[in-house]
């Protein structure tokens, strides 16, 4: 059923697909994180903007992915840009929500102490509030990453899709091996990245694991 010889003959192509998939995912999550961080910090002290912003990101999130790409292709073509616009759009809501939830979890006494100690607004954010929000933000990045890996399968339809394209070709040629390889590697990629991020999160926040000794 599985043509192992094909796999061994095409390791280069498979590796290239994995790399493309990975790059698309990482790029999309990074851009999404940058946008939602800026948005989060802008609305942090202006709470009435949170509703509209989250609402807008929510609308983006609910647009069916196929429809979004169909909409984008006439404007930005079958390009990396189209793929990234779509992928980034789907990360925004998850990331923004987690950034805000993380920042909100900072206790009032910690905020008050930071302010009373003479940290400026920016210093409070960078040195106290964001570091304390990190565990929740990392949790958001993990969900966004796994979601994006799945969505990259869809961007294959506009010619930008790493493992998705591998599977698509498998369908077209009725060649199941390509489909299986694409499927297994996608799942492996999702699990692998998720575990990696979880590990990074743990290493970056040693304090979060400590209980009263």
């Amino acid at each position: 059923m599985i043509r192992w010889d094909w796999i061994f003959d095409n390791l280069d192509q498979i590796a290239a697909s994995v790399a493309e998939h990975l790059i698309l995912t990482i790029l999309a999550v990074w851009i999404g994180l940058a946008i939602s961080l800026v948005a989060g910090l802008l609305i942090y002290d202006r709470r009435r903007l949170y509703g509209p912003t989250a609402g807008f990101f929510g609308i983006l999130y609910t647009i069916p992915s196929l429809a979004l790409f169909a909409f984008l292709v006439p404007i930005t073509g079958l390009s990396l840009t189209s793929a990234l616009i779509g992928l980034v759009s789907y990360t925004l809501l998850i990331l923004l929500r987690n950034i805000m939830a993380g920042l909100d979890a900072v206790t009032p006494e910690t905020r008050e102490a930071a302010e009373a100690m003479g940290l400026s607004r920016a210093q409070r954010l960078v040195r106290v509030e964001l570091p304390l929000a990190l565990p929740v933000i990392v949790a958001g990045i993990r969900v966004a990453t796994v979601t994006t890996i799945g969505l990259v399968m869809v961007t294959a339809l506009i010619g930008q899709g790493g493992l998705g394209q591998l599977m698509l070709r498998g369908f077209n040629r009725s060649f199941p091996t390509m489909i299986y390889v694409g499927f297994v590697l996608t799942v492996a990629l999702a699990i692998g990245l998720d575990l990696l991020l979880a590990w990074i999160g743990r290493v970056a926040t040693p304090w979060a694991r400590k209980g009263p000794g």
Binding site: E109, T110, A114, A116, M117, L132, P206
Partner: protein
């Protein structure tokens, strides 16, 4: 106010630095209706002066505006009207961030940064002021030792790994890190158990003896106020100052029914814990020395008058009492003629403890001894009772009692 003179910035030690704090007609209300309704946290026309190096305790029922008053000093809250001066400079004229770096701040919930190690927490303000990493660590270690923590053990831990009492010590260390001339403490020991609280209070007093900061201390506990305060400001609901003065003065003469009720029905007994044996003038003690001819001792006018003598050794150390009829004999005085003694009172013993010792021993007088154990006088229960009478409190006594 005479009390101020005791707290002039000391030059005994280069690290001592303190500032005066003056509230001038400070008012804070939160909405238009608050002026008439007395909303919680409001402050009304608060005027008080805290001399440099004194602990001033703001005490009052919850919602009386004491915390609001504190937070207006470091501009976490801005007053509606009035001014607060630190060393004569209006806080409103200073940059809030820069101002706060020069004011230590300790709150009940401590507010340590959970993601930073203990030494990093302590070094927060030095870091903000640009101290090198080495200097930060050094300063943190110094302060952790000062508050009774071991830098080697606790320094690298995270706040979640410490007990409540330990965290509170770290909070004090962090507030002291940049050697601020002023400390604001908002119920700093309110969240720890009574035994730990008592220890932390004593340690703060010990640290204060060394550093002589100006400390504004908020509490709702009158006993804590009396214990900690050089000066106590009793604040009524609505942020009205009900009475301001040394604790002994407030206990001896409450200015209003509110103050009298707030300090409690046992305020007389509370005053006893403020004064020490050295604050009373001891009565002269009739003495007989070991080996001295008995008849000569009996001829002493004091002995004749009191009808007893205190037998002391050659160093004036008390051995026991001898009735005058025992002295009516030939020969020298021997130790076996004496009967068991009254309690020995150190000049630093509080009157409360002294009275308790006298009651326990079922006697009416205790012997005051100096550091070398020499008898210097007698303190009677009557003298203590006399001291308790309001007229017995001279200004001098109350200032001494405030220390």
């Amino acid at each position: 106010m005479p009390v101020g003179r005791r707290y002039g910035v000391s030059t005994m030690d280069g690290t001592r630095r303190a500032a005066t704090v003056d509230f001038e007609h400070v008012t804070k209300h939160y909405d238009a209706g608050a002026i008439t309704t007395g909303a919680p946290g409001a402050v009304t026309d608060l005027t008080l002066s805290v001399p440099a190096g004194a602990i001033c305790v703001l005490v009052g029922p919850s919602g009386c505006g004491k915390t609001t008053s504190l937070k207006m000093v470091n501009r976490l809250i801005e007053p509606t009207s009035g001014r607060i001066l630190l060393d004569g400079t209006d806080v409103a004229a200073r940059d809030a961030v820069e101002l706060r770096r020069g004011i230590g701040y300790v709150i009940q919930q401590v507010g340590l940064f959970p993601h930073q190690r203990i030494w990093e927490n302590v070094a927060t303000v030095p870091r903000l002021l640009g101290a090198s990493l080495g200097r930060q660590r050094e300063r943190a270690d110094e302060l952790l030792s000062l508050v009774g923590l071991d830098p080697a053990v606790h320094g690298s831990r995270f706040p979640a790994e410490l007990s409540g009492g330990e965290r509170q010590r770290v909070g004090v260390a962090r507030a002291l890190a940049a050697d601020p001339p002023i400390m604001l403490m908002d119920e700093p020991f309110g969240a720890v158990d009574p035994i730990v609280r008592d220890r932390l209070q004593n340690e703060l007093l010990r640290i204060q003896e060394r550093l002589a900061k100006t400390i504004l201390f908020v509490t709702h506990d009158i006993d804590e106020a009396i214990k900690m305060g050089d000066l106590v400001a009793v604040v009524d609901v609505g942020g009205r100052l009900a009475q301001f003065g040394p604790p002994a003065e407030i206990l001896a003469g409450p200015a209003s029914d509110f103050v009298a009720r707030f300090v409690g029905a046992d305020r007389g007994l509370k005053r006893l814990s403020l004064a020490r044996v050295r604050d009373l003038t001891p009565l002269p003690v009739p003495m007989a020395r070991l080996g001295e001819p008995a008849r000569r001792a009996a001829a002493d006018p004091l002995v004749r008058d009191q009808r007893f003598a205190l037998l002391v050794d050659h160093e004036d150390r008390p051995i026991g009492w001898i009735a005058d009829r025992e002295l009516d004999r030939d020969g020298g005085i021997t130790a076996d003629m004496a009967t068991p003694m009254s309690p020995l009172l150190d000049p630093e013993t509080t009157l409360k403890d002294a009275l308790s010792m006298l009651i326990d021993a079922e006697v009416l007088a205790g012997i005051v001894v100096d550091r070398d154990g020499r008898a210097t006088g007698l303190i009677t229960t009557e003298a203590i009772a006399t001291w308790l009478r309001p007229s017995g409190v001279s200004t001098a006594t109350s200032i001494e009692a405030a220390s």
